[in-house]
Symmetry: C2
C-alpha cells in the first residue's frame, strides 16, 4: 500500500505532514510518496531529526504550492504544477494507491473530478467528512463539492455515503437521512421533495426519511444527504457551534482559582468530552465518487491527526469501497440482474 | 397597549400562557386579550388561582385549536376557527395592537401573510428569531417562512432585519451578513451571488459581506440573511448543537459524587453560561414584513418566557418598527427623495 501525500497542503505543512507520514510509515506499515519541493522537504526533515525517515519515502518533486486563497479551478491552470495537482496526476497514473491532502478542499474536489476522474455513472463527486455526534459518528454527503444539485445527484450522494459508512466505517445498514426543514415527505423546496421521492424508491439503501438539523448532533442518521450548499452550512455551523460552546465552558473553568480547582477535579472526564467532539478523531473526508481513493485531511491537522488520517486511508483503500460503490450504482441503475 | 395572545398555542398551553399573561399584565402594565375556549380558560384559571387575573383580561372566544401537526395552510381552511386564526383576524380588525402565539410557526407565517397581510412593497414576510451568540445576540432573517426565494426577497429580509435590530434591539448600524459557504463575493449558488451584488449596492444597510456559518456563534454578524431553507437549517442545527453539548457537559457533572461537587463549586458560573445560550432570553421571533406586529413565542415557553416575550412585544410595538421598515423600503425603492 503506497499512499501519495501532499507535502505542502494545510496550515502545518510541511513539518506536521512529514512527522505524521513518518509515524504512519513506522506504525501502520504503509509506504509514503511525498509530493513537494525536494529541498524544502529535506531541510524540514533535517531540522526535525527525520532525515532517516524521509530517506525511506519516495519524493515526487514539484515546484509550486496551491494555497487556501487559490481558486478551486486554479488546480487545472496556473497551479497545475502544485503539490496537489502533481500528486493527483501521480495517483491517476498509478504511482500509488491513494492520495491525501490537507490543502484547499475546493481545489481537491475539482482535481479529483478532472484529474483522477469520476467513477463510471457518477454525476458528481461528494466531499464527505465523517464527524462525531454525542453517541458516535455520521457523514455529511455532500458537504461542499457541488453547491447546485439535481435530485439524482443527491440520491447518488446517499448511496455512495451509505456504502462508505458500511464498508469502511463498519456501520451496519447505515440510516440515510435527507437534511430538511421538517420530517414530512412534502417539506422543503422542490429539490428536497423530488429527492425524497427518489430516495424512498431506492432499494439499495436504508432511507429513514428527512432528518431535521436539530437531531443531527444526537445521531439522527448515519449519512446526512445534502446539496453542497446546505451540507457545507451544516459542516461549518456544527464545528463552529461546538467550538464556541466548548470555549465558553473552558472560560468558566479558567475564571478563578476555585473554578480551576473544580476543573482539575473532573479533568479526565472533560478530556473525554473534548475527544468525543474532536473532528480529528475520524481523521478525514473521502472525495467519494472519484475513480481512485482521494482524501481530505483536516486543514489544521497535526502529526497525530495526519497519522490517524493515513490509517483511515489505508483502511478505506483496502476495503475496496470503490468497487462496492460501483456495484451499488450498477444495482441502482437496474443492471444488477444482467450482471449477476 | 393591548396584546392579543393565542391561549392555546405551544406545548404548555393554556396554563403557562395564562400564567405568563397574568404576570405581564401585572408587571408590564399591558392589557391582554386572550383567545381560546372560554370554559377551558376559566377552568384552568380556577385550578391555578388565577380567576381574578383572568377576569381582568378580555377573552376572545373560539372553539378550535391549531396543533403542531396541522398543515400551515390549514389556518385558512379547516382551522379557520382556531385560536391562532381568530386572534390574527382580531388583530387585523383592530381589536388589539399586536398578536403573539407559541403555536405552529408555519401556520403563523401563513396567517400573518394572508390574514394580517403584508406591508406595502414587501414581497415575503420573514420569520426572524433573535438568538444568543457568545458575546450578544443576532437575528436570522428568514429562518423558515419561505423555502424558495429570489434575490430581491433576501435583500428585503436583510433590510427589514436591520431596521428591527436597530429600532427594537438597540443595535447601532447592525452588521448584515449573507449566510454563505465562503467569504468571497463569487461564492455560493446563483441566489447567493445575485443577492451579494444587490446587498452590496443597498445604501440603506451596513452590509458586511458573506458570513460563514462557523463565525455565526462568535457574533460574525447582527443580521444573518438567508432563504428560509438555509435559515431554518441554521436555526435548528444551532439550537440542537448547543443543547447537545450542554447536555454532554451536564452528564460529565452528574457522573460521580466528585464531579457533582465540582459542579457545585462553579454552579453560579454554569448558570450564567446556560443563561447566555438560552434562546428564551430574547423572548421571541417577529414575523417581519406583516402589516401589524405578529410574534412567535418559543413553542416550549413557560410563564417567565411568555412574560419576557410579551415585554418584547410591547417594546417592539411601541418602537414603531413597522413604520420604520416602511420608510426604509421606500428609501430603497428610490422614493426617499420624493417623500422628504
Amino acid at each position: 500500500m503506497r499512499i501519495i501525500v501532499d507535502g505542502f497542503g494545510g496550515d502545518n505543512a510541511p513539518k506536521e505532514i512529514l512527522l505524521g507520514c513518518a509515524q504512519a510509515m513506522e506504525e501502520l506499515g504503509v509506504e509514503i510518496a511525498l509530493v513537494g519541493q525536494k529541498e524544502k522537504l529535506e531541510a524540514c526533515a533535517a531540522e526535525n531529526g527525520l532525515a532517516g525517515q524521509l530517506s525511506k519515502m519516495e519524493i515526487i518533486p514539484c515546484q509550486d504550492v496551491l494555497t487556501m486563497e487559490d481558486e478551486p479551478g486554479s488546480i487545472l491552470k496556473e497551479k497545475s504544477e502544485s503539490s496537489m495537482a502533481v500528486g493527483l496526476r501521480a495517483l491517476a497514473q498509478g504511482q500509488g494507491d491513494a492520495f491525501a491532502s490537507a490543502g484547499n478542499s475546493g481545489a481537491l474536489t475539482v482535481g479529483a473530478t478532472m484529474i483522477v476522474k469520476r467513477m463510471k455513472g457518477v454525476r458528481r463527486v461528494a466531499f464527505a467528512p465523517v464527524l462525531p455526534h454525542v453517541k458516535g459518528f455520521f457523514m455529511i454527503s455532500d458537504a461542499g463539492a457541488s453547491v447546485e444539485c439535481r435530485p439524482e445527484m443527491l440520491v447518488q450522494f446517499g448511496l455512495m455515503g451509505s456504502v462508505y459508512m458500511e464498508k469502511v466505517m463498519g456501520v451496519k445498514s447505515p440510516r440515510v437521512g435527507l437534511v430538511n426543514v421538517g420530517t414530512e415527505a412534502h417539506k422543503g423546496d422542490e429539490l428536497r421533495q423530488k429527492t425524497y421521492q427518489l430516495l424512498s424508491g431506492c432499494g439499495e439503501i436504508n432511507f429513514v426519511g428527512n432528518v431535521e438539523p436539530r437531531d443531527i448532533p444526537y445521531g439522527g442518521c448515519d449519512v446526512a444527504v445534502a446539496d453542497g450548499f446546505a451540507g457545507n452550512i451544516v459542516l461549518k455551523l456544527y464545528e463552529g457551534t461546538a467550538l464556541a460552546i466548548m470555549g465558553m465552558v473552558k472560560d468558566v473553568f479558567q475564571k478563578s482559582l476555585k473554578n480551576k480547582l473544580a476543573a482539575a477535579m473532573i479533568y479526565s472526564d472533560l478530556q473525554g468530552l473534548k475527544k468525543t467532539m474532536d473532528y480529528n478523531t475520524y481523521g478525514g473526508a473521502p472525495i467519494i465518487g472519484a475513480a481512485k481513493p482521494v482524501f481530505k485531511m483536516h486543514g489544521n491537522a497535526k502529526a497525530p491527526a495526519v497519522k490517524n488520517a493515513l490509517g483511515l486511508v489505508r483502511g478505506c483503500t483496502e476495503s475496496g469501497y470503490i468497487d462496492q460503490i460501483a456495484r451499488a450504482l450498477a444495482g441502482m441503475a437496474g443492471e444488477r440482474g444482467a450482471r449477476e
